[in-house]
């Protein structure tokens, strides 16, 4: 999904004297190599010994910045930066992908946006990953420079975990 414009880069008619902001935006546009509307290329899931792995494959190189919550949750926010090499464009994109449930990996949906205000960095790529139930996970960037790995453990409700008698 392509949005018309981004908050920090409004259309020309939106401001009276817009060149200072244009400069900021143009910097982004020239360097950045865009973020294509098709930024999330694929989602792969697999399991081994009860551990699930989700690999989010992007169509541009990405740099991992941050995520929250740290390792447990139903809603996971991930901040990346695209380090792309594509044709410049001012369009921010928003997309959505949904994965069916697999054994040990609950169904999840990924909503992503490249809107400039989703994170305070140049070329942000912000992901909202919503699982169908709370999960216990760890994140790390993929070895290929354009993927993100999420490893999922069978989640025990923390309140139900056994305690030593």
């Amino acid at each position: 999904m392509i949005l018309r414009h981004t908050p920090l880069c409004p259309p020309a008619w939106a401001t009276h004297r817009w060149w200072p902001r244009l400069a900021f935006c143009a910097a982004s546009l020239l360097t950045l190599h865009v973020v294509h509307a098709d930024v999330l290329e694929d989602m792969e899931t697999r399991t081994d010994q009860g551990v699930g792995e989700i690999r989010l494959v992007f169509s541009v190189p990405v740099r991992y910045l941050n995520h929250f919550p740290a390792e447990r949750g139903e809603l996971l926010k991930v901040y990346l930066q695209t380090v792309g090499m594509e044709v410049p464009t001012s369009e921010a994109v928003r997309g959505h992908k949904r994965s069916p449930a697999m054994p040990l990996v609950p169904a999840f949906a990924v909503t992503y946006t490249t809107a400039q205000n989703c994170y305070s960095t140049r070329e942000p790529l912000c992901l909202d990953i919503q699982f169908s139930r709370p999960v216990h996970y760890r994140l790390r960037p993929g070895e290929d420079g354009h993927s993100l790995l999420i490893h999922i453990l069978p989640e025990s409700d923390k309140t139900k975990l056994p305690t030593t008698p």
Partner: protein, 786 residues
């Protein structure tokens, strides 16, 4: 119990016979020389003693494994001969261990825990009393629901009579390999003792259907044990004609086995295939796949690549979505120049469009080949007379992978992500792993242009991927060459080196253009976990923006026009054509203009985030940007050169701010540019309620104040001041209908106010301008996942 054991033995011999017939009994490794355990706890970190179960008998153990490159720590309860036994035992553990699951234990883990004579300090053996273990019969899938009685409490080891060891195992968990048998301290090469759960009465009554099905199943087993395959087929057929019940899955597998034993290979394959269609997941499916492989594969193939062979699998998935956007804007301005204010108002409908997105993935796996096709397309139907409808085909490619020889190819419209490829292209990319850690790639094609262009580009390149070395390092080196209208456009070499560690990662990337003898990109980025709760990230990036190419000269046609004598005045089509300019300037002149038209962009970032607790995270970063001047174009330089711009940001993220399933983000930034200062505030809040609804609220605010500028225009001195602010609230509602359909609606407002004063201090006059811009828009759409 005896019957069950006999059935197990019969299945074992049946399976071993079929395998031995194709592979030779002595040369084939047993595919199922593993056991089952119940994984009670899993953790990314070592499991502390306080979490270790102490009220369960001593066959609970700790272990760890490297899975997907990450060390995972487990507490397991074992061992069980069959998945069925383990499954039922697991069910009894769920109340205390809700994440308990049945795990097929690798042979080395089994040996380590039971018979490997581990040292006291060896990993994974804490609290383990090594015991000789042999799985208990039966081996029939899910037969445990009736023929195996299960303990009401966690299983207690019981020694069973010695069991003859068949030459090749048939069902999961049946031990046959000599090393395994030898490793058991008290077992001989032909007999072993077993630890099995204590039998217990059946837990609950079954329905009439279940009773009937159970009777059929018992009869079918009897028939199979007496090698009366015809009778077994008839009984199983009756069972399978019943409504679905708890025996249906096992019956589907056994009817395949009965056909197989009758020598009816085609019928056996048909039934096994039906089994996979009905029950594609789980251990039974794995077992059936192995039987299919054994039936289908010639001996040599089984010996060479048995573990890689698979049944044919085909799938198609994707999504179709349509979103309608409508936007209306209004601009009100008031200008005062030496007299009464002049006001104007303009209202326009700036957006009315339907976006249709198709995302289609097809996958077909046959033997050692994986085949995939991908189509992604967006069609924008504009309902405004002054805006054209457009179609963008983002991907349309076919991909093949050979899993044995490890080569792959992708053909069609695709994205390039390494090897110096700039974005999307149409062409092919081939790769071959000629050594375990070395892969060579060749790529060629035509870049995809998003807009109409008047030139033609082609490229080819080769790259070499290496790694993983020393567990942490990988990367690639590449060469790429691109032409535009027949002349060299870009010719570069590059390298990418990556480092990965559980605590962080780093990337160094360099792209050097040999045509221009110029460094295109040099970037270093790293993320580092300084403590379990604190993450640092940094970026040092220097690059030509955009990447230096001969065609960059087209950005500056005004300069190009002045080179010929006399200067030329091209049409818009000619101006965008390298071929045209080559009629008027030399290649060297084109490249010089390209160099002079390409600024550099430097970025330095240092950021940190810290998890205060499980519900709060705070973070911040400092960034410095600098876009250089463009030598050949004073006009462009004036407009684009930023000078050093600093941006300071703090951010807080929390969940449970209003409701337990909410997630909120607040960030504040301060920009300090060469000629202006800006402040931004952004707040987003996502709420999940009930099981199907999501609500997103967002608010962003931007305030900018330019430095006061003093300009001399003619003989007058002007003092110019400018300020603006912008606020944009948004609300988005989503509803998930069923598993595959979602509906989404969005409503947003963007309000912008700008104020400027131009005071002529020489004449004592001034001009002011106020502009208010408001835009309202909404979106309504749906998405169907299939």
């Amino acid at each position: 119990m005896r019957k069950t054991f006999l059935l197990w033995l019969m299945l074992t011999l049946s399976w071993s016979g079929s395998m031995a017939a194709q592979t030779g009994a002595a040369s084939t490794k047993d595919p199922d020389d593993s056991r089952y355990a119940i994984t009670l706890l899993s953790s990314f970190d070592p499991i502390p003693d306080t979490m270790f179960p102490r009220n369960i008998p001593d066959h609970v153990y700790r272990t760890e494994a490297s899975i997907f490159g990450r060390t995972i720590y487990f507490v397991r309860l074992g061992f069980y001969a069959t998945a069925g036994e383990a499954e039922v035992a697991k069910d009894r553990m769920l109340a205390r261990y809700p994440a308990a699951l049945v795990t097929r234990v690798a042979p080395d883990e089994y040996l380590k825990i039971t018979g490997g004579k581990p040292k006291a300090t060896e990993t994974g053996v804490a609290k383990v009393t090594p015991k000789p273990v042999l799985p208990s019969p039966p081996a029939t899938p899910r037969a445990s629901t009736t023929s195996i009685s299960l303990p009401a409490t966690p299983p207690v080891p019981v020694v069973t009579p010695a069991v003859p060891l068949p030459p090749v195992a048939a069902a999961p968990g049946v031990p046959t390999s000599k090393p395994e048998a030898a490793a058991a301290p008290t077992a001989s090469t032909t007999t072993q003792t077993a630890v099995v759960p204590v039998p217990a009465p059946a837990a609950k009554p079954v329905s009439a259907l279940e009773q009937e099905a159970g009777t059929f199943m018992e009869q079918a087993r009897d028939a199979l044990m007496h090698n009366d395959n015809v009778a077994a087929l008839q009984i199983l057929d009756k069972l399978l004609r019943l409504p679905p019940n708890s025996y249906s899955q096992d019956a589907q597998e056994l009817i395949g086995l009965a056909h197989e034993r009758q020598g009816q290979k085609t019928s056996a394959l048909r039934e096994y295939t039906l089994y996979l269609r009905l029950y594609p997941e789980g251990l039974g499916a794995d077992r059936v796949r192995q039987r299919i492989v054994a039936l289908e594969s010639p001996p040599a193939r089984v010996e060479l690549k048995k573990e890689r062979a698979e049944t044919n699998v085909a799938s198609v998935r994707g999504s179709l979505s349509q979103n309608y956007y409508y936007g209306q804007s209004q601009v009100d301005s008031t200008t005062t120049v030496l007299g009464p204010a002049v006001t104007s108002s303009l209202t326009s409908n700036d957006q009315s469009a339907l976006y249709t997105n198709l995302d289609l993935h097809g996958h077909y796996s046959s033997g050692n080949w994986d085949n995939r096709f991908v189509i992604r397309d967006t069609y924008t139907a504009s309902f405004l007379s002054n805006v054209d409808s457009t179609n963008r085909l983002y991907s349309a490619y076919y991909e093949m992978n050979n899993k044995v020889d490890e080569f792959s190819g992708r053909f069609g419209r695709q994205s390039g992500t390494s090897g110096g490829i700039l974005g999307q292209f149409e062409g092919f990319a081939l790769g071959y792993n000629f050594l375990p850690k070395w892969r060579i790639n060749v790529v060629a094609g035509k870049p995809v242009e998003l807009y109409t262009v008047h030139y033609s580009k082609l490229f080819w390149g080769a790259s070499l991927d290496f790694g993983l070395f020393a567990e942490h390092w990988n990367g690639n080196v590449y060469y790429i060459q691109q032409t535009v209208d027949g002349i060299a456009d870009r010719q570069a070499i590059g390298a990418e080196v990556r480092y990965f560690d559980p605590r962080g990662s780093a990337l160094l990337y360099v792209d050097y253009d040999t045509l221009f003898s110029s460094l295109n990109i040099a970037t270093f980025q790293a993320t580092w976990l300084s403590s379990p709760t604190t993450t640092w990230n940094t970026l040092l990036d220097h690059r030509l923006a955009p990447t230096l190419m001969t065609s960059n000269a087209l950005f500056n046609t005004s300069t190009l026009s002045t080179i010929p004598i006399p200067p030329v005045t091209p049409t818009p089509g000619q101006a965008g054509s390298i071929s045209y300019w080559l009629q008027n300037v030399t290649e060297a002149q084109l490249r010089q203009v390209a160099v002079d038209s390409t600024p550099t962009f430097d970025t330095y970032v240092l950021g940190v985030s810290h998890n205060i607790n499980s519900t709060w995270q705070i973070g911040g970063d400092v960034k410095r940007y600098n876009l250089s001047a463009i030598p050949s174009s004073p006009t462009l330089t004036t407009n684009l050169k930023t000078g050093a711009t600093y941006m300071y940001t703090v951010q807080a993220i929390t969940n449970g701010l209003i409701r337990s399933r909410d997630l909120s983000v607040l960030s504040l930034s301060y920009l300090d540019g060469a000629t202006y200062q800006g402040e931004t505030l952004a707040f987003t809040h996502r709420m999940l309620f009930q099981d199907h609804w999501t609500l997103d609220l967002a608010l962003s605010y931007y305030l900018q104040q330019d430095d006061t500028q003093s300009n001399i225009i003619g003989f007058d001195t002007h003092i110019v001041q400018f300020s603006s602010n912008r606020i944009a609230p948004l609300i988005r509602l989503g509803y998930l209908r069923g598993k595959n359909m979602s509906i989404e609606a969005e409503l947003g407002i963007e309000q912008n106010r700008a104020h400027s004063v131009d005071a002529n201090i020489t004449t004592g006059t001034s001009a002011t301008s106020d502009t208010n811009t408001a835009r309202h828009y909404f979106m309504l759409g749906y998405r169907w996942n299939f």
